[in-house]
Amino acid sequence: MPAASQADVDGRRPPMGAVEQSLIREGLRYALALRLIVVALSSTASLLLTEAPRQGTTVAIVVGLNGWNLCYRRGMLRGLPRRWVPADVAVMCALCLTQLWTVRSDPRGGGTWVLVAMAITLVTYAWQLPGPALAAATAPIIAAHYLGTMIADPGGWLVNETVEVWTAAEVALSWALYRFVRRSARAADRIVERGKEMRHAAAVAAARRADEREYLAALHDTASATLLMIGNGVVRQREPWLGEQARRDLREIGRSDAAQRGELDLIELLREVSRPITAGGHSPLRVSWRTPDSLALPAIDAVSLSRAAREALTNVVRHAGVDHAEIRVRRDAAAVTVEVVDEGSGFDPARVAPGRYGVTRSLRERMARRGGTAHIVSSPGLGTTVTLSCPLPVPDVAGDERLIGASFQRGLRRAVVVVTLAILLFLDLPHLLAGQEAYTHVGVQYAAWAGLLVATLVAAVAAWRDRPLGTARWWLLALVLACSVVATVTVRPEYRLGPTHWSEGDAGWPIVLIMLDSRVAVFAAVLAAQYLLTFAQAAAEGQAALSIAGVVNATWLVLAFQLAIAMIAAVLRGLAASSARVLRAAEQVRTAEEVARQLHRDRERRYADLAATTVPLLEGLADGRLDPGAASVRLECAAEAARMRRLLAQDTTAPDPLAQELRACIELAERNGVSVSFAEYGARPELPPPVRRRLTEPAIAAFATARGKARLTVAGTGDAVTVSVIATCSAPPELPDGDGVHRSTMLDGDRWWIQAVFSPVSGPVKGGGEAVGWRETA
């Protein structure tokens, strides 16, 4: 790939971002195309409009050069710069040295096609080569050009040092422009990378939380409830349905891969929910399936759709009066649709009273929660079709696109500011100062120059402040065009379009800057209008400093560069969009992998927590080894249910030291056969260790001697925290108050009720200090 080898040539920053990589790739493509087109047009135009000293040789050279350019372009795109660039430098040197055959010395020629070919080649080198290589390639070619002109026209018009200096300056400007854009690509990469990391972390965390919630909700409603009710003694003997439930519970606990990557198979789920209905005792329903074999969906969407479909099927059994229904599933780019169709008795939807509970409302509500819809089409005698649809998630790339686009825009605008100022100050001003005799009104020339400078500076300020020009754009444009017109009018006709007519072409630079964020067509039209305005003025007076071919060559030199920038801007806008898509796709893959890995780990951890105690108990109940009526089994189930609840209540995402310490106390108590019911409410402030110790001490002391059942509760109200224990235990030891914690005890029958209350602003503090609470001991 060219991008990779280009990176090798550049070779300084090995880890290159996706945006910068695509910039290098696109930049190379664009630079090669530009060179190909400009050289082809300029050389052919010269061939047709002027006569070379050796016409035959020149034709051969022009054909050969354009052929070489094609080969060179292909070679570079294949990524072989080390082989092709030195060869290209040699070809260009040869072209420059053979000027004695190909160009004629003509003061009205303005520039030669060889000069145009050399300039565009060097300018586009800046997009292909790193700094040192660029310098190494530029020097011999410019030297060869200078040498070539001396051979062709010794001491004549062709030999012009300023042309060589200006070419070198152009190369430097082009290189600076490229560096600016590259830098903004890197900035975009960094910003996008940061955003990606944040989104990635958020997505993984969200998936873990959602999975945790789903898993816990399922366990709450299955295993935990089973054990709780057996512990409550509601099942007196072995029952077949209890074994069945225990087996279901075990499946739920062991479900380690069902929701891998947070996705479920909709078809499998649909079959699962329809099974009890189709196998139902009194009125079995036959279901025909018109679905794909499998269809993976985000778990929550799959569950929503399958539950809604179950509701629809239940309705068929109840109201349709038929024994057959059809389920159809299809998926398109935007949504998944499930249809439940029966040919039963149907009903008139308009006649269902609005306040009445109806399956319609329930279905609509269920689907609306997932952003989907439910439609029910039915009429008496003609059956019912329930259509459920759920939208598929669409990746959002607009944000990245804007980000990358803005970054590019900023880099390019600033680069053009630099280029424009350099041209106004170092090229046009010297021409203006040196060519006093060419102007009818020198003052007007200075004013026009100043006007262009002002327009450039206004645009520069906007560029540096990252503000769009808005409507000011059109005022600036009017100013530039006005300056261009008056600058042309005050040039004497015989000097028009020559070097002293500095505004020709160079007035285009402020226009480039002003129109940079417009569409290419608008940009090109405005730019062309400026040139045509100038040419028309010159043509009206009849005389000009240059021949037609000279105008074509001179104009090409500048216009190609200016149009090129418009194209860069357009390429960069497109690049921003495609880079954003590529980045987002890569990110999604990475996130999905990470989520799968994390979920697997989470599930293994949770299973490990339950494997030692809950699983054997449920297995015993499932295969009938354990008698749910036996006192020992009940006790074990009660204890296990309590343990599970606690385990499930743990929020792994937020560490809570007080709850952790209390849980440790409870586990200790349970090992001694105490069944502890635990509940907590209210937000708690962060507590320093001494306060936590004082709050947990009563529980530790009580559980050490407790028997039977105990109750442990925690309440947080404002800044206060209360830990309360009720247990049948020996009298609690006397403990002094302190650290803002106040303790109170009460005996009710054989039950001790011990409360430790922490309130930061009251209560005696250890050491007899002021009652400032925990602040002192923190």
Binding site: N232, Y681, T722, I726, W753
Partner: protein, 213 residues
Amino acid sequence: MISMVVVDDHPVVIAGVRAWCALADPPIQVVAWGADVSVAWLAPGAEADVVVLDLQLDVCGPAYGDLKRLVDAGRQVIVYSMRADKETVLNCLDIGAFTYLTKTEGEDHLVAAITAAASDMPYTPPALSGAFGTDDRLHRPRLSPRETEVLLEWFHSESKEMVARRLHLTVHRVSSCLERVRVKYANVGRAAPTKAALVARALQDGLITTDEL
């Protein structure tokens, strides 16, 4: 005889509820049960005095919609759930559930709650009391410090006698305090027929005055 319907998808829970109801005095007749809320809408469940509703937590979230429809139809709904977080509890009360019982409280409180629901008497089990006492939402009703105190002590304790002894009150005052709080909660948030009935009854009985609301 009080009649009731159980909506729960867990067979062991249904078995447990039926066992407790059979032993209750006066007895409670469980007329229908099932995993789907439709059992509460179809005969014979449609006529039951009380609905015991599992929130049926799944990935789609709690079944607030089902609760809302039952409440709007004037049913006395006891939400009976494994879930005990404050947000869910207060949400259900706001929708207009008669009361909220966590499944761990079922053995001690379910029968009493059903009896209270059948006679429209407020019933606040400890977990609900804890949720009320630590409620810090903006639109919560204004409670007196004494009421908050009673709520929290009832949350921590095992019997109203214990609360009464601890706060040096009579058991009757503890109960009426809890009832007043329940009525204040019925008076805020979403309008529902069951909530209005509770408030009306409390005003009639002189449990609370319009000034207090």
